[in-house]
Symmetry: C2
Subunit: 366 residues, 2 copies
């Protein structure tokens, strides 16, 4: 029997229910900016050594919570575990990003793709269960996956890219191959997230990190449609409890109206989006339907001195405005960065930001 | 006495006047995808050897026009010539991007910045005059500069960046320094573009290549405001002829309403923008004010086979819809890529694209 949640502000805000402060967590909050993370990673020997070891993954997931009063934990893992389980051979060279030994670049490679046996990803589900136990109800645990399109970018390029030439060449030259790959990815991501939910994830997030590199039209056909396919297959509750679903498309601000139609509770926003305008567009009204909004401060604000961080946090909180109060549902905000935290961030600045969110969001409710 | 323009479709479309086809040119159309460009660059020894030699710059500017029926030429140069003239020491290492020997990272370096003596940029103005003569009225010549913010990115980072950490750290920590740098840049860019106009440029374009990395609010204060300062200082005509001004903010689609207030004739758009929606937002109506729109196909479309290129061109042309016809002013479209052409582009695919634009745009007028 899992422990009851002591701090349910994140889940409530996801469900557009009132909270006494704006919940805050940070994308990549367990990461390289923390010396204790680097120490655990050194013990583990490598990034994948860290991610595949249940004890290490549990330890690093909880590290930021020991330092900061964050309102949610997020599973420590990587968005590329699913294509790795498909047999593409993921590795992380020291000082470089991820790389696949066998990128998917032709018809034969696409035809060979299959939804992987979820047993290959058991290390992830075991980590979820372990972290959930270690949290013991302190804050909820978020599970996650890359979106079908974002996975496809890495699967075709074989690594990070600055122009997405190979994956877009396939998209424009052989849309049939791209659709087949995205269909496999969507089914795999849905199975992966459902297994995380069964293992104990209390919310799930789809990172469409590269949706924003697509042209208008291509985004809808090759990213949004497959994110929606994932969402439609997801469990919406587990053991009688609602499981909120978050979708974050970096660079997706132009498509908010279309994203409002997604079968999810929360939309993540990057820092280019005006929160007040996004709230008016898709946040709904008290008693009406709408999306909770998550985001969206520029992570580079964390390089400024404390007073400037506090001022920028205040701007973001005020830009959203007073969230829903009282019973029922209405517009809500979950504070986050607009992208993952930089490895160069001074850890003490994160404390300033988290405290500033709690303080400013209580002030705006008063 | 300069030769009269034989093909004025680009200038007319900039001024929202009717044309019998949609004019087309391509950002970075004189570049590494052309073998003849690589041959000239090899002769010149380096990128800056190419850009600073009037004969070479003239030769490469005209190369794409010898292959394709493009409707405009653009000066071959680099956006970083202005900070180079400020004394920052620009170089291009083989196979890498630009780099400054003396980046601007502290108060003393910012205080030392000054609008450079335009005599140091004479090689650019001489190239403009030479190219204009060589064109002999065939198509108009576009001059250009980086925007104040985009120049500041390179000046602080010292090279390309994927997170803009240093320049944004200065922006959030010392906005006073950033404003001072941007003021110098704005005055320098205005002087630089006015000198290009005097030397013979028939239109000018401001590349705000990195405006889209800024947060909402920061974009308006640190990029848009200084682009507007440049525009306000520009000559709007030369020798009795209108000089259209184009502003292109990559990733700026969310701020089109605000960009509609810029003192310019044309807004450039990247591929994330829906052209029909942009036209409705800022394109104006027949007889009313508005901006001409330039863009916006994904350069990666050029890696697809000819039939797919033609289909994607048709989509873009139809997305804008029928441009203004008849007398007076109304909504117009200048076809372009949404970003610079890739060095890996097959040159024969560019011919397909240019012909497809002309054919599709004549069809939609019929």
């Amino acid at each position: 029997m899992p422990a009851p949640l002591q701090n349910d502000s994140f889940i409530r805000a996801c469900l557009r229910q009132s909270t006494d402060h704006t919940p805050v967590w940070l994308m990549r909050q367990a990461g390289r900016y923390l010396p204790e993370y680097l120490a655990t990673r050194a013990k583990a020997g490598s990034f994948m050594g860290l991610a595949t070891n249940v004890d290490h993954a549990t330890e690093v997931t909880l590290q930021p919570l020991a330092r900061y009063p964050l309102d949610a934990a997020i599973l420590f893992s990587d968005i590329l575990t699913v294509p790795d389980a498909m047999g593409l051979g993921l590795s992380f060279a020291q000082g470089e990003g991820p790389r696949f030994a066998s990128p998917v670049r032709d018809e034969a490679a696409v035809a060979a793709l299959q939804v992987p046996d979820m047993a290959k990803l058991r290390y992830v589900f075991d980590a979820v269960t372990s972290i959930r136990g270690a949290l013991n109800g302190r804050v909820p645990l978020i599970g996650f996956s890359g979106s079908p399109w974002t996975l496809a970018c890495y699967m075709v390029e074989g690594k990070g890219s600055d122009d997405y030439r190979l994956v877009k060449s396939m998209l424009y030259s052989r849309p049939d191959l791209m659709h087949r790959m995205l269909q496999v990815n969507a089914d795999a991501v849905a199975a992966y997230l459902n297994a995380q939910i069964e293992a104990g994830a209390q919310a799930v997030m789809i990172f469409d990190s590269w949706g924003g590199v697509l042209a208008d039209g291509a985004f809808q056909a090759f990213s949004l449609a497959y994110t929606q396919q994932v969402l439609r297959q997801l469990k919406t509750e587990h053991e009688g409890v609602r499981i909120p679903r978050i979708v974050f498309t970096k660079g997706g601000g132009l498509w908010l109206d279309e994203m409002a139609g997604l079968d999810c509770e929360v939309l993540g926003l990057d820092w280019t989006v005006n929160l007040a305008r996004a709230r008016a567009q898709v946040g709904g009204t008290a008693g009406g339907p709408g999306k909770a909004l998550q985001g969206n401060i520029d992570p580079n604000v964390l390089f400024a001195p404390p007073a400037a961080i506090e001022a920028e946090v205040e701007k973001v909180v005020r830009s959203f405005g007073q969230p829903h109060q009282g019973d029922g549902q209405g517009p809500t905000h979950i504070f986050n960065l607009g992208h993952g935290i930089s490895q160069y961030t001074p850890p003490e600045h994160v404390a300033v930001l988290v405290d500033a969110v709690h303080a400013a969001s209580r002030r705006i409710r008063a």
